[in-house]
């Protein structure tokens, strides 16, 4: 079949995004049924793409028998996320967490073990013990790549997806996209689609002003969020922004999860501890923000009290894993962990369920509200998923997609829709003159910082939305000189979509929740009577961006006496201090 002289590629299962969850989803689908055609499409190159391109230094939410139970984990994350979670999805993760660790271990991923051979678990969370260090975790991508090859997954690098396709019954039917080096379009027809496109990490602008100096891998710019929205899928709790505590300017994680168990901690300017627990939660970030803005700010990572051998151990882990250029950053400023505390700051805002709880709505089977479309990893709405959650939901989505595709014939494609999308893809390169994607991106992300970054204020957010919509009006002038600029031009359109979603979702929830993530100054209180709901964001029947409420499913695990534990985040000073 051809559309506009473009051959339509057929596959049973299509996975979009080859970072962490995507490869696991593709491998799982092939393990389920080796006869299926499974295609993995990646914007960069699967060898080094996504959030873990240089590896990962630990599992942040591992549920390991003897150290924690799935019930304890589900309870802790529910409390850390102010009650708004889909507990069945957390439970599915928690029960599959340990089998996934064992699977990865058998594939050759190295986790830290104690002298008895048991996993060397560390306590970082407020209540339980869930952190498993991986000091040799730099080779995770190589191991995944070997599995992709061994299972004969068909890999297509350097293609970016731009829109999802649906059949006349509203089921998923595939995708359309474009090659990032040649600008040639690609049309893929698939019986089931799994999206794993990562966070929306190019939403806010880093304080350095460098567009690509983001916390997230900047290839993760929210394409998946935008595509899911346009395909009619529900997104959830987008106002629960991702905001992380980071090394200032470098914008990489300070890695309290690595340094905490070794005696390092987050401190104020006087070297004093001010938060009880370094696990990233909205409440923790609010205390961080208050300290940053106070007379005892800014905030630092304090290691200068540690023994020489401990500091060497920390340097070895932090300067070889995940963000290894941080050693070079410190060197350039003459910062040595032995002598000086390291200045910290808060990140730009984004959408990322890995660290917070927003994204494309997914249930415990990885299903979205579009039949046949599944989502995993940082873009899916399962709270606090981190890397292990991406693997587990990659696996879940792989299984669910195989099941969905089983009884399905080749989907019917909507040729008129494809025609319109081809025109949208080709438009920026047809213009010889206009606005470069970089300028448009800078502008919309600067507006996100000015108007949407917490503390959120209603009138400011209304102005921000108006200004973001005005940037959208400029799209007919967006121009690209080469295929690479076309990639950025397609990305900026997703960024504008995400910015509009961020504004509308934040305006919809008229309360404060999740600490700093949705700290709304003119509605300062959490209001469970009106807002104990997931917020929905979706495209309505008129093609307009709409909001609504989704009830929180009955809890599988009651919260009991500990339900307010994450409210008590600030270190209490003694009365006579």
């Amino acid at each position: 079949m051809e559309i506009n002289n473009i051959p339509v590629i057929d596959t049973d299962i299509l996975v979009i995004g080859g970072g962490t969850a995507g490869p696991m989803a593709a491998v799982t689908a092939k393990e389920q049924n080796p006869d299926l055609n499974v295609m993995l499409l990646e914007k960069a190159n699967v060898k080094r793409s996504g959030a873990i391109s240089m590896g990962m230094d630990g599992l942040n939410n591992a549920v390991v028998p003897g150290h924690a139970t799935p019930e304890q984990y589900v309870k802790e994350i529910t409390i850390a996320n102010d009650g708004i979670v889909h507990q069945p999805a957390l439970m599915a993760y928690a029960t599959r967490s340990f089998p996934m660790i064992e699977k990865l271990d058998s594939w050759g991923v190295h986790f830290q073990k104690d002298e008895t051979g048991d996993y060397d678990m560390k306590k970082v969370h407020h209540l339980g013990t869930y952190v498993l260090p991986m000091p040799e975790g730099h080779n995770v991508k190589k191991i995944l790549y070997r599995r992709l090859r061994r299972n004969r997954v068909q890999i297509e690098n350097r293609y970016t997806a731009t829109r999802l396709l649906k059949d006349p019954d509203g089921n998923i039917a595939g995708m359309i996209g474009v090659n990032t080096r040649t600008a040639e379009p690609i049309i893929i027809r698939a019986k089931a689609v799994i999206m794993a496109t990562g966070a929306a990490g190019r939403l806010g602008l880093p304080t350095s002003g460098y567009l690509f100096g983001t916390y997230e891998n900047p290839a993760n710019n929210g394409d998946g969020h935008a595509m899911a929205y346009h395909a009619g899928a529900d997104l959830a709790n987008l106002e629960c922004f991702q905001i992380n505590p980071l090394l200032k300017d470098y914008n990489g994680p300070a890695c309290a999860y690595v340094t905490g168990p070794l005696g390092g901690f987050t401190s104020n300017a006087f070297g004093e501890r001010f938060i009880e627990c370094d696990y990233w939660s909205g409440q923790m970030m609010l205390e961080f923000f208050k300290e940053l803005e106070s007379g005892t700010g800014p905030v630092f990572l304090k290691l200068d009290h540690l023994a020489e051998e401990t500091i060497q151990e920390i340097e070895t882990v932090l300067h070889t894993n995940e963000r290894p250029s941080r050693g070079r950053f410190h060197e350039g400023r003459d910062v040595n962990y032995r002598q000086r505390m390291v200045e910290m700051h808060i990140s730009e805002v984004g959408f990322c369920s890995g660290h917070s709880a927003s994204g494309v709505w997914t249930d415990e089977t990885g299903a979205t509200t579009v039949p046949g479309l599944y989502c995993a990893g940082d873009m899916a709405s399962v709270a606090h998923n981190y890397m292990l959650g991406a693997f587990v939901y990659g696996q879940i989505c792989g299984e669910s997609a195989v099941e969905f595709a089983k009884s399905r014939r080749e989907p019917v494609l909507d040729e008129a829709f494809i025609q319109t999308e081809l025109e949208r893809i080709q438009a920026p390169m047809k213009r010889a003159d206009g606005i470069p994607p970089e300028q448009m991106e800078y502008k919309v992300r600067r507006l996100v910082n000015d108007y949407l970054q917490p503390p959120k204020v209603t009138r400011k957010m209304e102005i921000g939305l108006e200004r973001i919509l005005a940037v959208r009006e400029d799209l007919p002038q967006l121009c690209a000189r080469d295929p690479h600029e076309l990639l950025r031009a397609m990305e900026v359109q997703s960024i504008i979509d995400c910015a509009e979603m961020a504004a509308r979702a934040s305006l919809y929830r008229t309360e404060s929740r999740w600490g700093l993530y949705h700290y709304r100054v003119d509605y300062p209180e959490q209001d469970d009577s009106e807002w104990f709901y997931h917020s929905r964001l979706f495209k309505d029947e008129n093609g307009q961006m709409a909001s609504g409420k989704r009830p929180v499913a009955d809890y599988l695990v009651p919260l009991g006496d500990e339900k307010d534990a994450y409210r008590k985040m600030r270190v209490q000073k003694a009365a006579n201090a």
């Binding site: 960069a44 190159n45 060898k47 080094r48 793409s49 996504g50 391109s53 240089m54 690098n157 350097r158 990032t180 080096r181 350095s208 002003g209 460098y210 567009l211 690509f212 100096g213 983001t214 891998n217 900047p218 290839a219 300017d249 470098y250 914008n251 963000r323 290894p324 250029s325 070079r328 950053f329 350039g332 400023r333 003159d433 206009g434 606005i435 470069p436 690479h484 990639l487 950025r488």
Partner: protein, 77 residues
């Protein structure tokens, strides 16, 4: 509307004496998640064509001849 050329110091440096891109090597170009490394048509060597760097280091780590150095972008340094 007129478009100006933007002058910018880039963070990734390729040692052209060590680089073997002219002999067919494309390792650094392949692994860059942001696709900012390209062949310089004049020299046949790899170079940073777009200033869009995450200073993530696969290009440096995977280069078979140690020709690539990733510096911290100036705005962050």
């Amino acid at each position: 509307m007129p478009i100006a050329n933007h002058h910018s110091s880039v963070p990734v440096i390729v040692d052209e004496d060590k680089c073997i891109a002219d002999k067919g090597c494309t390792v650094c170009i392949d692994v860059c998640p942001l696709d900012v490394l390209w062949i310089n048509e004049d020299t046949g060597k790899a170079h940073m064509k777009y200033d869009e760097c995450w200073y993530c280091m696969p290009c440096e780590a995977d280069c078979p001849t140690d020709a690539v150095t990733v510096n911290i972008p100036y705005l962050l340094r």
